[in-house]
């Protein structure tokens, strides 16, 4: 397999875009106000960034074994990122780490309370961050 300069250019573009997404994730993590918005910023590189970097790596590495392994990593990221994001956001909503004054719509808060729900699971505002 002989890679031309075009394939190299595509691969390097993918790598640079993936790295740029990692930088934006760091910026969003520092600047955003609460857990849900930070998660929104932090999960940018988990799917698109990793996918772009894996495409670039698969073009540059030129071996079937490494290509399959990079594909495995990408598929695994796309399978597990929604699960962990769902769990973290649900726990954050229930454990008062969410700024409800910043929400546009709050469908969980509008639902009627269930009978068996433990007290303390009601949502409440997180304390504003000092500094």
């Amino acid at each position: 397999m002989n890679a031309g300069p075009l394939a190299d250019a595509v691969a390097l573009t993918c790598l640079l875009l993936g790295s740029l997404l990692c930088l934006t994730a760091g910026l969003g993590l520092v600047r955003f106000p609460d857990v849900l918005t930070r998660m929104h910023a932090g999960t940018k590189p988990q799917v698109l960034g990793v996918l772009l970097v894996m495409i670039g790596g698969a073009i540059r590495l030129q071996g079937w074994s490494s290509t399959w392994m990079l594909l495995l990593v990408a598929v695994f990221q796309m399978l597990t990122a929604p699960i962990s994001a769902h769990m973290v956001s649900r726990v954050a909503y229930r454990r008062r780490h969410v700024r409800r004054d910043l929400m546009v719509v709050d469908e969980l808060g509008m639902a009627p309370p269930r009978a068996g729900e433990a007290r303390g699971d009601e949502p409440a505002d997180a304390a504003p961050e000092p500094g």
Partner: protein, 109 residues
Amino acid sequence: MTVVYWLAYGMLGGGALLALVRLARGPSLLDRVVATDTLLVIIAAGLAVHAALARDPTLVPVLVVVSLLAFVGSVSVARYVGGMLVDPRGDGQDAGPPEAAGQRTGGTP
């Protein structure tokens, strides 16, 4: 080539440093979980960028391990925080993890 090298590693390093800032400052445990998850993803992307730029496929199995670890870590900490019970003493407010209890006003930690 050298320009791409420095640009990619600079952006990855900047992202990792900012994630570390959030990991140190984050007021609650879940902020730190999100920051750790992002940090591990950035580390995996950095390993992949190194493997791609150096055409060195020996680091590729490490990527699989790192992505597995990120998932297992964040899910186990989220389940740990979510499984904390309501404190039966006091006024019925949950004690929460120590970071969350320290933040609230009027709760009984």
